[in-house]
Symmetry: C2
Amino acid sequence: MQRLTVSTSEALDRFISRVSRRSPLSDDEAAALLALPATIQRARGNADIVSPGELVEQSCLVVDGMLGRFVQMVDGRRQITAMYVAGDMCDLHSVVVPRADGALQALSNVVVLRIPHDDLRRIAKRYPAIVEAFWRDCVVDASIQSVWMANMGRLDAKARMAHLLCEIGTRLEHAGVAKRDRFAFEATQSHLADALGLTPVHVNRTLQDLRSTGFVAIGNRRVEISDWAALAAIAGFDPAYLHLDQDTVSAATAWRHAPASRA
Amino acid sequence: MQRLTVSTSEALDRFISRVSRRSPLSDDEAAALLALPATIQRARGNADIVSPGELVEQSCLVVDGMLGRFVQMVDGRRQITAMYVAGDMCDLHSVVVPRADGALQALSNVVVLRIPHDDLRRIAKRYPAIVEAFWRDCVVDASIQSVWMANMGRLDAKARMAHLLCEIGTRLEHAGVAKRDRFAFEATQSHLADALGLTPVHVNRTLQDLRSTGFVAIGNRRVEISDWAALAAIAGFDPAYLHLDQDTVSAATAWRHAPASRA
DNA sequence: CGTCACTTTGAGACGAGTCAATGACCGTGG
DNA sequence: CCACGGTCATTGACTCGTCTCAAAGTGACG
């Protein structure tokens, strides 16, 4: 599944095409992004890419695999507050707030591109459309966080799990690396537990529950969703909050919908 | 409690002084912010300032009172994903993502200043330090959201409540409108429930539990914290994530701590 | 002085956590 | 080639935090 040869420009290309769908860029601006210097880094699952409290000096573009941002309590319990897939620039926010609040950790074997803040700041300064794009990217990240928070507060385990699967699928498809209903998923059940605010044991039972509906097969490091509509209904999934394209969301549909199963 | 006469420049002043503590601004830049046109708006508790799905065209600076950002499910359940106090510019993110994901609602009687996006964009374009300050403000908001998410996922009701009280107190003191252990708090128990992912009934019981410790007196639209250290210990509160000042946080203390009560 | 919003109380139900053990898989080294 | 250790998935029995439903109490305001 993992590419063995990765060109820097190929990875940047994916980022640029994703970003430019919500923040239009001129040829000059795209070229400036493409010319960014970057160093490739590989890491195994559970390796720290950024350690908590660290003073970060480069941002991190995901080429392959999945990463998570962790907030950790001293008793060892932790919460994943964001997940990043190929094409995502995690840590873009560290350009303006370099002190990391939490860890950035690989959830699978990953390939990332590290891009110095200095270079990002340089092109941000030269091209106003690029700062705006970066700023917007951070705001959309926050929008995703809001939805995660609402789900944790107001949905049960099954709906939260279904929602996460729908979101990851949608984001992977948008990034052009998989179909939304059929993708590699290497994170463990413990990772899912940390992302959903559950225990690994309960994640396991929740997955069995979902499998038994027949809507989704998950296991063997893959997810296969056989009935997307049904899964989305359980989750109350409405992709508007991902802001995948430039404000295509009409006022009427910008609401999130509660799961149909809780009538 | 509520001021009857509010000058626009006085409110902007508070915003500028708060922002400039984490994003240093030149005199020119501060002057540009101070010269922003704004219209005063008053609203009663539970009034929508921004409706979900709306296309927002102005941002909103809190002069007095408290506001919340809501994500709502169609079955009526809702989650507060952010709370804003005096000096906060809520909706700054709407400058780059104008379609509102959720509602912005008054949690008490409020006075806000509405500032057109066009004007914010104009000065953001002219002064790079200002875009950076705005971007940073949004990133800090997201940092706060991360901590809320971690708390919802990994702390029990009592610790979550204690944490929220510590956070609001700290932010109010930083904004210069109250002391952190003694402040007006007009939000209802239902609002607290929506913010913490609980039911109003359980919020009530949790407050009784906290009151019985003697560390905090809450009621009558006021909060009085008699033992800050004890409350902070219950919450595992470490204000580093608020990024109140320009990176004063050392790597060693950037971790959040788990509540001492759960040893 | 009644209405309305908010707070408080009680009893019972249920979702999720805890603890503990077993099972499946996989890479590694003897 | 197989025994080993490690990580991850699964299961069972029991506990506990929080929800639900319902009702009553409090206080502000017209």
